[in-house]
Amino acid sequence: MSREKSKRKDVWKLVSLLVILMYALILVYPLIRLLRESVIVEGQFSLQGFKDFFSKPYYVRSIGNSLKVSLAATAISLALGVPLAYFYQMYEIKGKSLLQVLVILCSMSAPFIGAYSWIVLLGRSGVFTKLLESIGIQVGSIYGFSGIVLVLSLQLFPLVFLYLCGALKNVDNSLLEASVNMGCSGAKMFFTVVIPLCMPTIIAASLLVFMRAFADFGTPLLIGEGYKTFPVIIYDAYFAETGGDHTFGAAVSVIGIFITAAIFLFQSWISNRHHFTMNAMHSIERKKAKGFKNVLLHIYCWAIVGLSFMPQVYVIYSSFQKTSGKLFVPGYSLESYRFAFTHLKKAIPNTFLIGIAALALVVVLAILIAYLVVRRANVANKVIDTLSMVPYIIPGSVIGIALVLSFSKRPLLLSGTAAIMVIALIIRRIPYTIRSSVAVLQQIPITIEEAAISLGASKMKTFFTITVPMMGNGIISGAILSWVTIITELSTAVILYNANTITLTLAVYTYVSRGSYGIAAAYATILTVTTILSLLLYMKLTGNKEVSL
């Protein structure tokens, strides 16, 4: 047996090697370049970049600001999302399918679109501000800290909702019955039984929300008005020194990695202390709430979802408004769309070409890596597993900067090409797709593959004719969700794009920052429609009305 094993060339070893080489090139090398750039000034070792950062309160304060914003956004997202998920899973809510689709749409629009819409709605001369003032209600400023937190919370609570729904589906109904049986029901049960049972998921969701809030720069850029957060500093630092040396930008990026890594380790430490497994024989059955309670439930659920979906509705509405120059004027027209389709003609095809290329590669790589990690556990594949999760904790803009630093000179000249955009998307998306592929693969018993091999199929034949088709559904559903996040990705792409590689999301960003809101709204609407169609496709293909991330 062992003799045979050593003689046999295992194709999977080759795959492992290629995957490691790929990671070395597109991830390890850029990160080393980034680190090197941060400590080498004019060929000499120097910590000048770090000194510059820590000597100015302006910079240091941005870390505090980011932490504050992220903590507040995480807390509010939990406060909104956890009860919403609980009500959604425990009670019959009218129109629950629509509710869920809207929640997902909220989570999948770019945050800066939300920021822009809220400015239009509640800003100094916002639609609602004026409306409320006319009846004597003063709206406080939504610029700065509170605005950022508002936008991020409404954007990110859907993630908490989706995670918690998944966790609640794993809570066995009999656990709740046992609780009621022992005299603990209602709100008391929610806090003493349901919340502790969902704690591992709540911790995981908190990390995700915190990381997203921490890394987001579009929102503070638009609505922050001088309230500088760390990603804005990274972005500013990078663009302040284009062409020249990147020491400061690189140093700030490295600091960013350290902060997110520290947060990640802290989270791992906490979640290890809260570890236990659950699986439900009988899932919780939705009940009909009665009377007043039922009314309150519906108000809560629909008010929150309505509130967070409002910006998108407003964006769609304003895309049909008449514009004169940059201003909206009374009346409706398709002028914004005409402009959108005649200018930046490349944005739509780019979105699809870059997106599909990235998606195809992400899916193929994720399947291969998941197979290596689950079925071929060895040191090399352990390394791959770890490497593949690294991008999970690195802010998108940092990945963008690292890629620019690494691929802007021959022979590795890729900056400005679609290829670098694709690489960035692969790095960013692959951790999520691998996780879902691993989960799918773990459900497939290895004996099925062994049966195929014992019947004379080669390893590769087994993989392609048995394993991959069995993973099929899981892969397709994972891919569609990846697709949606790929087409709405901003933070890395904004550093890498140029006029030739601009995508829809970037087009929205460009026109929002130029103040051409009508055109931005038209692009955003096209993006939203694409997202909705993708989600509908997902539901159609999986035959599943419940989306999970």
Binding site: D172, S174, L175, E177, A178, S179, V180, N181, M182, G183, C184, S185, K188, V193, P196, L197, M199, H274, F276, T277, M278, M281
Partner: protein
């Protein structure tokens, strides 16, 4: 503080689908009472109506004299053991057991004392600080039982508590459950589809089918004098043979395969008339007659040696098949194809009317409330 449970005319509907129609039942104080039946017979539904997790569409449920139909499950003071134990995976063994006590706002000392008492009683003291996922199935079962009993409930409800355990543990745990119930003396309603398990633990059993109770009685009564054909086939194994009853004066006879007639003195007086009947003869109620003696002729199809007993699968000349259990003998097992002569233990066999609805033999006990007898 045990109670008796009275159920009158209970009705359960899911939409327009009626699961239980008009069911009545009396469970005595301190009794170990089992609801036994095939899956889908409504036994778990009934248990959950008592617990308050299923709505009650009709009828009355009483604990002693208190009607509990509309009482919140929180207030019914019931201890419940679930099929999958429903142990909180995030709490240690000790905290699981103390969970119900904490909700009663008892003083700390009392909580500690009671928790200790039941951890000891269930012999899980040494695991008190363990998380549930590091316990075996049997240990989790003990935690579930300790937790249910710790709140000193009026009634203990158990829903297929042993179905997730392996065969050996199942036998071990049913002894534990029976012992604990004896010690605590609490009214217990137990649901299972396993008739052997039901016989092993119960004081009385209600056999259910299709939402109706077929018979209520002690394990002995159900086994020896089943009220109808369903009970006869569901409890234990039995051979069903079509036959005819003949009355000749004061004597009654039944015809066995091969036109072999035997006298039966156990038929109820009002049933001693010519009629078609169904016989239920348990495998151990047939015995091999010595060679040459007159009996029912049968041909052996297969023999299975199981240690204590040997099972013979035979067919009669009429083609009907039957199973016979004999205590294993030291000499060789009878060969396939050999022809044997069988006798019947006439006092033990049961005779049903041709629909299988009614046992015609004397001595049937059925505690069915409002039933025919």
């Amino acid at each position: 503080m045990s109670v008796n449970i009275t159920i009158r005319d209970a009705v359960k509907k899911y939409g327009s689908n009626t699961i239980i129609t008009d069911l009545s039942l009396d469970i005595k104080e301190g009794e170990f009472f089992t609801l036994l039946g095939p899956s889908g017979c409504g036994k778990t539904t009934l248990l959950r109506m008592i617990a308050g997790f299923n709505s009650i569409e009709g009828g009355d449920f009483y604990f002693n004299d208190v009607r509990i139909n509309d009482m919140d499950p929180v207030k019914r003071n019931i201890g419940m053991v679930f099929q999958n134990y429903a142990i909180f995976p995030n709490l240690t063994v000790e905290k699981n057991v103390a969970f119900g006590l904490k909700n009663r706002k008892l003083s700390k000392d009392v909580i500690v004392e009671k928790t200790d008492k039941f951890l000891k009683l269930m012999k899980i003291e040494e695991y008190r600080d363990r998380m549930p996922e590091r316990l075996s199935g049997g240990q989790q079962q003990r935690v579930a039982l300790a937790r249910a009993l710790a709140i000193t409930p009026d009634v203990l409800l158990m829903d297929e508590p042993l179905s997730n355990l392996d065969a050996k543990l199942r036998v071990e745990m049913r002894t534990v459950i029976k012992e604990i119930q004896n010690t605590v003396g609490i009214t217990t309603v137990y649901v299972t589809h396993d008739q052997e398990e039901a016989m092993a633990v119960s004081d009385r059993i209600a056999v259910m089918n299709l939402g109706d109770i077929q018979q209520i009685g002690t394990p002995k009564a159900l086994y020896q004098r089943p009220a109808n054909l369903f009970v006869a086939t569901f409890i234990g194994r039995t051979n069903i043979i079509k036959s005819t009853l003949h009355a000749e004066g004061q004597k009654t006879f039944i015809t066995l395969p091969g036109n072999h007639r035997i006298e039966l003195s156990t038929i109820m007086a009002d049933q001693r008339k010519d009629q078609e009947v169904i016989l239920s003869i348990r495998p151990e109620e047939l015995y091999l007659k010595p060679e040459g003696e007159d009996g029912v002729k049968a041909i052996i199809d297969d023999a299975v040696f199981l240690g204590l007993n040997t099972h013979y699968f035979v067919h009669f000349e009429s083609g009907e098949k039957a199973e016979i259990i004999q205590e294993s003998q030291i000499d060789s097992i009878l060969e396939k194809g050999s022809v044997i002569s069988l006798g019947v233990k006439t006092q033990k066999i049961n005779v049903f009317d041709k629909d299988g609805k009614r046992n015609l033999v004397m001595g049937v006990h059925n505690d069915l409330v409002g039933g025919a007898r």
